[in-house]
Symmetry: C4
Subunit: 354 residues, 4 copies
């Protein structure tokens, strides 16, 4: 009971904190601002010829934009999930559910995750922490996926958040085994996802080696979950640790560079993307799509469903415009478009052969 | 009628906005400040030996300076064009007319572009948008050129401006065909010109391949036409897009570097040049001449014809002085003079063989 | 007598000044902030699997942290030494005594250095300036070591401090001979240590060539001893010299890079480390352990023995956390962990073969 | 008569302006702050073993410091020259007279340059502009040198200053011939000297090719002579030109790097050196000695002869201290000492073979 209250309260805290202004990184950005796209003055096409659609996880998005995993488990979450899923469906984007752990431990909250009827065609991403996934049977996980009608399951890795969180997990063993099992046994694809600290080349290589074909780098520069926990910490030692790790993580643009060339079929770049320019820059670094969490939440707080649609429409309009202005007819063209990297970001390009 | 009023009003808006201080780039400069020229303490010549003249488009300018395309079509524009053309003629510089579309669609405004009698010897550049040129026959275009006595025709590429402009063009197809046709059929040379977003290496290669031999890079760092349209936008979505693309474009110095080594006969560097030092730096990067728009307009607003002559005289005096101080007897010497590039600009130097 | 008073007063001045805020470097940092560790989202271990222990000078520390040499010789110093030694013993860290010159010239102060009974298992480092060591016989030095039960002897090099100090030493000859003699004749290992100006590759090569196997780089970025003397200077010329040399020295991170690859068995990185992140970054550059002086003194001033234990516990907790988050099970793993160096620090990496 | 008054007034203006704070470069430094000397913690010598003496132009200076050319021709100048020459003699440094043109055109002012009786042993440098030297016979120049007892003659190159100066010279032809003639015919060595804009590699190569063996780079970052003339300008065009060229020139540290490896016997680094650290850094870049002008003038204004001696004593003390702290027994050692260059300065290192 205390536990249930606790989880429910935590979710509320998270939503309130993440919609505010004090959970950003302090001295670290996504480094997307160090990606200079190169203007093409002679695009040789009509703006309507630009095709920003992209295939991701077996579905075609109308634009390379995903609403990243946020919530579930409470009444407020139910409304948010419905509105965001509907908006994504309406615009042809992807939508990610928040961690479905709540749904598993408290089955009566399942409805807060069930958005399929409101969003029949949306690319719907389920979500589970790797520590929870390790403890569950594949059948149990499959049930969670079937009950929501998810097209793929994001397994989130978030060790930094866990270790600064009071009562967070401390055991991160057998993660790779868990991923291998799910790749082999689950009926839908797995997306390995961070939650704001990014994925390194080493991690990407390891998860690729067990068959994972999709990533969401969720790098640093946007919402810092360590910062969120710093606000919630009561114990001064925990607060001090969270304070020191506040800026921990790989900047999103750096993380996208790190995971290139390893044979992934889809790479979502989440973490600190705020505009269509950010999405376009992430794609030009090699991402399949850009993901946004906190800014979508803020748009919902400010304007509900309509606010979210209006915000995302602008994001897509900008992506389409930049595609034209870089002479990119397709998302694949944008991925190959010339770009100039700033000096800090350039240091993150992996060596040719290491 | 509504249309005519509209165009005429737009022209007035443009002049007023561009003479003001709120249409510059926000976080982007021309990068000319990252070109360090190298002092020659022993120039071995008289200041009078310095020959800042340069051949451009078949005429010899007394200094490598061009007044870039600005206006036409209104009474105010007529006065400005006359004064600027006279000043350019007086000082032996180049002068560019604003877009002659107005002259085509409203023939009674032709006189506002006809400056030849006031500037019999000036290098006179006609101007037409590529979208308009595509829609017109070569004969129609030839008439516009003959009626103004232009020595060459600038075809401006401005997709960024078009797509943020209410009612702007969205179709940029068949631009290269249009250029090929004009190169082959028109009696005067074509200059491919941007309007503040710069020309990339890719665009330069493509237009070179259809026979274009002259460019005006018109890069970023000076007047931002997207910014101009941001001020004029009424619709919040359009305003938001313009806001986000405000700084879009290739910095002028970067653009000059990008188009080197492709066999062009003349390269004008416009965009953010404000002084004779800027002109000299652009030439040291390989430009044939520097172009200035907004600062000339401001000088005209402040001091009319005399103000323009005084301003340009200072620009030329500085160019001449810097030629001496870099030991450059000729403009060709200045183009070969040693220079040290700053780190941001250096990243724009094209790879030897790509 | 005047001399004794003087030394005693200097020690008190030093403690008071170093616990304050005006003896830091002005425009120089340790450059540890230019070491970006790379997040490992999939650490594949329990936090308890992380083993932050490390062998240094024949003893195993429970974490790669050393309290660097500070004091001795006065009553205040006696209390500090006891408390710090006890704290280090309690937490399984290393502890360094301040210069034992006082103990030699004023034997009745010996007790202020004798902490062994309070810290039976601690890695205890003795301390002597190279100029004093040169003047003493090996037997005399051995006695100092035996009387304190030191496990190793730090020989500190501090020419910058000496030459700005009124009455400081000016003769730095025969230092290498002295080190060779002590390496050969003393019963415990020698650690060559700076006091805030760092060790260069050249110095490291030279001391390695006479058999020294351990270093404490004590680089710039934390306490500036020249600054301390600037505050104490009376003569305006001496004050001016100290002012000008205030920032003299090799940043700590740079110094750790400089001494890599020369075959040392242990490298302590002291100088400007303030947190567990700093310790982790120093280790990732190749250090065996990080050393802290002034921040431990401040923690003692603020909270006595308990304050020191609390402070160091946090440092260790952060190190352990970062080890997990970089996927480092052992300190050796952390030393090999990927890292991205900032541009200023990168310039200090020694050339492959020089 | 007007002319004489004018020259005399100019000299006074210059002294007053240069002793003030408004004739420095605006956005340009000497780049000496980008030279990081590397601390040697084990110098293996006594401070007294450090020998900061250096041979320059046939005389041995007690330290690598020269008072750079400043004045002559007025009563005030006479006092300054005497005091500075005496101070240099007293401390064993070099001293440079201001331009001796005044002495030639107004022979009764000769006494203001004649400091030999007050400074019997000083390294005394005569001074003449290259334009004046071109117009004079070698015999006339030899007389100027003999009448002052100069050990060498600085021929200053200052085209930037001349062209911004009302009535300044505009003819810089036959400079190289003039230098060749003087090298061949004059009884004392020639030093080619700038006055604040620096010497490029190209200029150094050319003057070396006619036999010049000594340079004073006098680079940018200290006194800007263009700035001085900007203050004196009356005509707005001249003022505007001076304003634009205010920061023109090669930073001193860059200039020292540019002239390395061409076989010069002596290189003085003047321009923006303000302390002994600056002198040491210049030497570590390859200079034989550092030169100071404006700061010596300021010290004289503030404290007369004694003020100058005190100031220079501190400069020398710092040089000596830094020599010890870089393990440099001799100036030649300091020239070879390790150093780390900042990124802006590094771009000025000449390519190995060009
Ligand atoms: C309120 C909120 C809740 C989140 N909950 C989850 C979650 O349950 N599972 C997950 O994988 N990521 C979660 N995230 C992380 C986001 O998916 C995303 O990776 C991160 O916030 C960075 O993106 P941003 O900068 O656009 O917010 C959450 C983010 C927010 C703001
Ligand atoms: C008021 C104004 C009107 C302009 N009109 C045109 C035009 O009709 N055609 C064109 O090619 N460029 C036009 N331009 C762009 C300029 O030619 C130039 O490329 C751009 O302003 C960058 O130069 P600047 O920074 O010196 O202003 C115009 C610029 C201004 C300021
Ligand atoms: C109060 C104080 C006294 C010190 N005394 C000594 C000493 O006797 N011997 C020594 O080798 N270093 C001494 N040091 C230098 C430290 O060991 C350390 O190298 C230096 O302070 C840089 O570390 P920090 O930035 O953490 O203070 C002293 C430092 C402080 C703050
Ligand atoms: C007041 C004053 C007068 C100068 N006069 C001369 C001169 O006659 N001849 C010359 O070669 N340089 C002259 N200089 C230039 C200096 O020798 C030196 O090159 C320049 O000032 C840069 O050094 P600083 O930054 O230390 O002042 C003069 C400088 C000053 C401040």
């Amino acid at each position: 009971m205390a536990d249930r209250l606790d989880i429910s309260q935590r979710k509320k805290d998270h939503l309130a904190l993440c919609a505010g202004d004090n959970v950003g990184f302090r001295d670290k950005t996504s480094l997307l601002e160090q990606v200079e796209l190169v203007h093409d003055a002679l695009p040789e096409m009509h703006l309507d010829d630009v095709d920003p659609s992209v295939e991701l996880l077996g579905k075609r998005l109308r634009a390379p934009v995903v609403i990243a995993a946020m919530t579930g488990g409470t009444d407020e979450a139910a409304i948010i999930n419905q509105d965001l899923a509907r908006a994504a469906d309406q615009l042809g984007l992807g939508f990610g559910l928040g961690s479905q752990r709540a749904m598993f431990v408290r089955p009566h909250t399942a409805h807060t995750f069930q958005v399929r009827e409101h969003a029949p065609n949306v690319l719907l991403l389920g979500n589970l922490g790797i520590v929870q996934a390790r403890a569950m049977s594949t059948a149990e996980i499959a049930t969670l996926c079937r009950d929501t009608g998810a097209d793929a399951l994001c397994i989130h890795l978030n060790p930094a958040m866990e270790i600064v969180q009071p009562g967070g997990d401390r055991d991160f063993s057998r993660g790779l085994d868990t991923l291998r099992r799910l790749v082999e046994e689950l009926h839908i694809p797995i997306v390995v996802k961070e939650t704001g600290c990014g994925l390194s080349r080493g991690v990407a290589e390891r998860v690729r080696s067990v068959g994972v074909e999709h990533l969401d780098v969720s790098g640093s520069g946007g919402t810092s979950w360590v910062a969120v926990e710093a606000h919630r910490a009561v114990d001064p030692d925990e607060r001090a640790l969270a304070d020191e790790l506040w800026d921990w993580g790989i900047p999103t643009a750096a993380s996208v560079l790190q995971v290139q060339g390893l044979g992934f079929r889809g790479i979502v770049a989440t973490g600190g993307l705020r505009t269509g320019s950010d999405v376009a820059r992430a794609v030009a670094l090699g991402a399949t799509a850009g993901g946004l969490a906190a800014p979508v939440l803020k748009a919902h707080r400010a304007g509900g469903y309509d606010g979210v649609v209006a915000f995302l429409r602008r994001v897509v309009l900008t992506v389409r415009s930049i595609m034209l202005l870089t002479g990119s007819r397709t998302v694949a063209d944008l991925q190959r478009a010339p770009r100039v990297l700033g000096p800090t970001l350039a240091r993150w390009v992996p060596e040719p052969r290491r």
